[in-house]
Amino acid sequence: MLNLLLSRLATAIPSIVGVVVVTFMLTRLLPGDPAAYFAGLAASPQAVAEIRTKLGLDKSLPEQFVAYVGDLLSGNLGNSLSTGQPVVTEIATRLPASAELTLAALLLAVFIAIPLGVLAAVKQGTWIDHVCRVVTTAGVSLPVFFTGLLFAYVFYYLLQWAPAPTGRLDVFLSPPQHITGFYLIDSALTGNSETFWGALRQLALPAISMAIFSLAPLARMTRGSMLAVLGSDFIRTARASGLAPRTVVFTYAFRNAVLPVITVLGMVFSFLLGANVLVETVFAWPGVGLYAVNALITSDYAPVQGFVLTMAVLYVALNLAIDLLYGLVDPRIRLDS
């Protein structure tokens, strides 16, 4: 298992290097002159040149790259041009908001999709199987931003069941003491039930819109994978040995069927990281996605760079975690490496 961890870590390093190069190039090659934008419309050419020198944009690309990597190594992602704040701090304060939303959506999706998929496979052709098919078809045909808008319209505007889609917490509530950065966890830890429910109410709509989309591929893969495994020889052996149906379905079939589900889980998670950008915009969620969109609109390249880099590192870490999870479930992978 340690070998697996080390070998996967080694393969992750080139990915990180590639990401560093690409983020640097991307922001340099994008149209628009940050210096001109920052200086403002009325600025004189001298002022623009001054700002350019200050930002180090007058140097050659390799020089800029060396400076960039040096900054990265010292944990400096630059400052946002529009807020003047260090990008690292801004991302660090906003990341928990995105993470809480994404993880809540993913957990919700997993807790619905996997039992649904398993049941649909075990009781193939019954009503639960049809429910599964309807849910998965509906799920993939509804893009996240659409469900998000629809939910906000129906549950906030029409029914007024949900609070206004204006961020993580009602303005009248104060955020909980910072422990993990996750409002639900922090408020639960500090026993602040008012904030907990407030945060949950705000989280519900965006999390559900993201969960609806992501549970479709999960349920479909769980069902398909379970069906394939239930038809395999070793399940016949297990049944012929008289093992209890519960043992056959969970201990024997599900543990084997879970591997492709883990793959899809990784893909769904990556997708949710991207979908954050849309959902955060719809619900004014103060996460990194919204931050990146605003930065992109204003050609503020340091936050964009920081965002892409953060996301890329998350993707790599995610894939690493998925690989390790594989190793935990499947001894063949663990012992191969």
């Binding site: 020889d233 052996t237 297990a238 049944r239 040995s241 043992t247 201990t251 543990r255 063949r332």
Partner: protein
């Protein structure tokens, strides 16, 4: 001496519902196995050997349906038991081993655990004792270094080793009946003999009855007391092994023997059987499903299939036996 047979199958018929119609996979199949006896079920692929076994075990595909018959085992009709009661019997009183042992074992569970699962399920051991009992079973099927092998996964073991594990799982609770469905297919010849000897020996020790499903007549003759020949879902002939080899009465059985390499027959003299199995979805299947391939066919063959006793425990389903 008329002992009560361990398993008596009577008039077993099975249908499969498919998109292209109902397939009558088994029709009026009947034979029995006595305590300590080994009966071979032989026939070409698709003749219904495995379906017979699956029906008795209650592990037919969802599309399969038993339309008639009884399978008397230990005073109860297995075909009439509900799934719960049948699951109690499976693995404890009647067990089955399969071909392709490497895929027939759970790939991600240690083999010792797989044996222990069956023991715990049927009360053969407590959860605490099960690992040790599993190692005992591995010793019994003569797996060297059983303590270490119990910790292995199927992909770390050879095919022959996996089949021994299968046997250990099947015999863990000392069943009265073992159904071995082509247990040596996919194993090399020397391993085949070892596995067959092992099954025979363990069956002899406990007086277990064995049904051995194979398409290999030579293997059947070597290891089995009686041979039941199946063709297209019918039993065409049943006889003690030696007698069947000496004097096959059904034209199909005779052709099958002529197609079996032995000590006397050279490969060049082996004959193939003309024609193939009839399409079992047809509505106009003749009573004798071999008649369309048969050289001895007469008008009498249009009558319902007979069941003629032609010798001591020798039965043939043919109007014009050899």
């Amino acid at each position: 001496m008329t002992a009560v047979p361990t398993l008596a199958i009577e008039d077993l018929s099975v249908e499969f519902r498919t998109r292209s119609g109902t397939v009558k996979v088994l029709e009026h199949v009947g034979f029995s196995v006595e305590r300590g006896e080994t009966v071979a079920l032989v026939g070409e692929s698709g003749s219904g050997k495995s379906v017979t076994a699956f029906a008795v075990m209650g592990i037919l595909d969802a599309a399969g349906r038993v339309t008639s018959g009884r399978a008397m085992f230990g005073g109860a009709d297995l075909l009439a038991l509900d799934e719960r009661d049948l699951a109690e019997q499976r693995g404890r009183e009647l067990s089955m081993i399969f071909q392709n042992p490497r895929t027939a074992l759970n790939p991600i569970r240690r083999v010792g655990r797989q044996i222990a699962d069956v023991l715990v399920r049927h009360g053969g051991a407590t959860r605490g004792d099960a690992p040790r009992a599993a190692i005992e079973m591995l010793k019994k099927v003569r797996i060297p270094d059983p303590e270490r092998r119990a910790e292995a996964y199927p992909f770390e073991l050879s095919g022959g080793m996996c089949q021994r594990i299968m046997i250990a799982i099947a015999l863990a609770c000392r069943p009265a009946l073992l159904i071995a469905d082509e247990p040596t297919t996919g194993l090399d010849v020397t391993t085949q003999a070892v596995i067959m000897d092992l099954i025979g020996e363990l069956a002899g020790e406990s007086g277990m009855a064995t049904i051995f499903i194979t398409h290999d007549l030579a293997l059947a003759a070597e290891y089995c007391d009686r041979i039941v020949v199946m063709h297209a879902g019918h039993i065409v002939e049943a006889a003690p092994g030696r007698e069947l080899f000496a004097r096959p009465r059904h034209p199909y059985a005779a052709k099958l023997l002529a197609a079996t390499p032995g000590e006397t027959a050279s490969l060049e003299s082996l004959a193939s059987i003309p024609g193939g199995l009839p399409d079992l979805r047809r509505a106009d299947l003749p009573p004798c499903r071999y008649s369309e391939r048969c050289e001895r066919r007469t008008d009498a063959c249009a009558q319902p299939l007979p069941r003629r006793t032609v010798g001591d425990r020798h039965i043939v389903a043919c109007w014009n036996p050899l």
